[in-house]
């Protein structure tokens, strides 16, 4: 019977800072937790009192990786509050925006944060001597996605032109043709990425949980749809609070969440499990090549699901950009009249479903805000995975191996810890 004293401060190659703590005595687990020590960000607090046209520009600063996603959720919440209906062209551009962000984020995670684990390297830099080609490929794909994003919304981080009601500037034909051609030209790089992942051995582990994502009859839902729970089916987006039920735990500045069980999972694995049939043909063929048959209950396969989604976003972007070129772009001016009301924006971002809810007064000043971030929704699920995993391997593997598996597990979720740190309800007593 083994003693364990694992204290990883901090987990490397994730966004933000989190610690893994495991204590076991004579094989009995005494403590397992994922400590989140980042300071809360207070975004919801300091958006209150600001006018409607500033909100998406402030809230997209919650994250440098999912800034398009935050901006989209924010804009959708404001549009719902004001009764604004965006044009078909605006919706197409927003979907392209999300595709670009998914490629950016998934490539970053797969090549620079996650792959080093599987190739026994400490970082992407340590891969250079033996896998320089793969690192260069990762850089090339990341740059393509950055340029794609900048083409649609002005710049690749903290976008400028995406606003409530539409776009202040639309991309021109030459820029669209250029990105389209580069996406088509990068398909062999995507194939090479799949080949790389075929050589990677994903740890064996399963824990079935509740999977929550958007779902739509029309497409693989990222921009719009019902909230879908693998346990209870479809729910309207306004019911998000009953499916998140945020709560505080002593060891985390980020809130945890649960829906119908003790925890649930959001992100690429939830989306692919819930909506596999709606994936593009290329994405389905990637899934087949990687022997991914949903539902998959192994959280380490979040990486595989991200690669499948990357293929989907590539193929759908090529399709949508070609359609835009065929239709031609019109210069539409956003037309928004603020009014009192409440709206909810539910959008898929790379790490899972994201909710923004806003209430405005009649002048369009924000009076209340609530943002529920994917990583926060996953934290309880990660801890329950850790609590199942450790007893399964404690007698088979040494402390170093257990530590690595735990780090890889947390990393598989691609947590954005800084984003998830959330306004805590603090009550001061005299």
């Amino acid at each position: 019977m083994k003693d364990l004293n694992i204290n990883v401060q901090y987990i490397t190659r994730v966004e933000g800072h989190g610690n893994i703590l495991v204590n076991a005595k004579d094989g009995n687990i005494e403590k397992i937790c994922l400590e989140i020590s980042e300071a809360p960000r207070f975004f919801e607090g300091f958006m209150v009192g600001r006018p409607w046209y500033e909100i998406s520009h402030i809230s997209c600063r919650i994250c440098g990786i999912c800034s398009v996603g935050h901006s989209t959720a924010s804009i959708r919440a404001t549009e719902e509050a004001f009764g604004v209906v965006p044009s078909e062209q605006t919706i197409m551009l927003r979907k392209l925006n999300l595709f670009a962000e998914f490629i950016q984020s998934h490539i970053l995670h797969l090549y620079f944060l996650s792959v080093p684990d599987f190739l026994n390297a400490t970082s992407a830099f340590a891969l250079i001597p033996n896998n320089k080609e793969a690192v260069l490929r990762g850089l090339k794909l990341k740059k393509l996605a950055n340029d794609f994003s900048a083409m649609i919304c002005g710049r690749h981080v903290h976008n400028l032109s995406q606003v409530v009601g539409g776009y202040t500037k639309i991309p021109n034909k030459t820029d669209i043709e250029n990105i389209l051609s580069r996406l088509e030209g990068a398909l062999p790089d995507l194939e090479a990425t799949v080949e790389l992942f075929k050589t990677i051995k994903i740890p064996e582990f399963e824990r079935e949980t509740e999977y929550i994502s958007l779902q739509s009859d029309d497409e693989y839902a990222l921009y719009d749809g019902f909230i879908y729970s693998s346990d209870t089916g479809r729910h309207v987006h306004k019911d998000y609070r009953s499916l998140t039920n945020e709560f505080c735990v002593p060891h985390s500045t980020a809130k945890h969440a649960k829906a119908n069980r003790d925890s649930y999972l959001v992100g690429a694995l939830a989306r692919v499990n819930n909506n596999f049939q709606k994936l593009s043909p290329l994405a389905k063929s990637v899934a087949s090549e990687l022997n991914f048959k949903p539902p998959v209950y192994n959280p380490y396969h979040m990486n595989t699901a991200q690669l499948i989604e990357t293929a989907h976003c590539f193929e759908e972007s090529i399709k949508l950009l070609s359609e835009l070129l065929k239709k031609g772009l019109k210069d539409e001016k956003p037309n928004v009249k603020p009014k009192a009301g409440t709206g909810v924006g539910a959008v898929e971002v790379p790490r899972g479903i994201l909710y923004h809810e806003y209430t405005y007064d009649s002048e369009g000043i924000l009076v209340n805000a609530n943002c529920v971030i994917p990583t926060g929704q996953n934290l309880e699920n990660i801890e329950l995975d850790m609590k199942k995993l450790v007893p399964e391997i404690i007698d088979k593997e040494n402390e170093e191996e257990i530590t690595k598996k735990l780090e890889m597990l947390v990393r598989a979720y691609d947590p954005c810890i800084s984003c998830s740190t959330h306004l805590l309800d603090v009550e001061f007593k005299n």
Partner: protein
């Protein structure tokens, strides 16, 4: 490929940390640089900075720095040899990547990076949008240094081209 770029980096929400970006805006307003020089607001994204570096034949990078013993506004010129750069053993998080990582990433793509860094001693790094007065005074001095570098680069390039033609 860009011939010569001037890249200012930093976080404009943190006072003097944003010096590089403010300097680029100053140069844009002044229109003092030759037209073929790319003036780039490099922000703080490591991957983007790596792209700007690898896409420039010659890059002049401007960043805020804390030498700890220098007076605010003092300028250090650093000629970089990328192969001597070593990334941190552990990359704590995407948020913790550094300029060193950007240079290293760029040098994976190109082993002939030509890079000068101007590091300017900060006075005050705290959440605010303005530069401190001492750092604003540095703009014209640094502008002159960058212009001199550009002239020297161009002279060298001309010499090289002449030699190539003779051969």
């Amino acid at each position: 490929m860009i011939d010569i770029s001037v890249i200012g980096i930093g976080n404009i929400l943190l006072g003097d940390d944003g010096f590089g970006v403010h300097f680029i805006n100053y140069l844009r307003e002044r229109k003092s640089m030759p037209e073929d020089i790319a003036l780039i607001d490099g922000d703080i994204d490591t991957f983007s900075i790596a792209n700007y570096l690898s896409e420039s034949k010659i890059a002049i990078l401007v960043d805020a720095c804390n030498f700890r013993d220098g007076p605010p506004g003092s300028i250090e010129k650093i000629c970089v040899e990328p192969h001597k750069f070593k990334a941190f053993e552990n990359n704590l998080s995407v948020h913790s990547r550094s300029l060193k990582d950007a240079v290293l990433l760029a040098s994976i793509e190109r082993d002939d990076l030509n890079l000068i860094i101007y590091a300017v001693q900060v006075d005050c790094v705290e959440p605010k949008l303005q530069l401190s007065a001492e750092l604003r005074k540095v703009f014209p001095i640094l502008e002159e240094k960058v212009l001199t570098d550009i002239k020297n680069f161009k002279k060298e390039e001309e010499k090289y081209e002449q030699k190539s033609t003779c051969h």
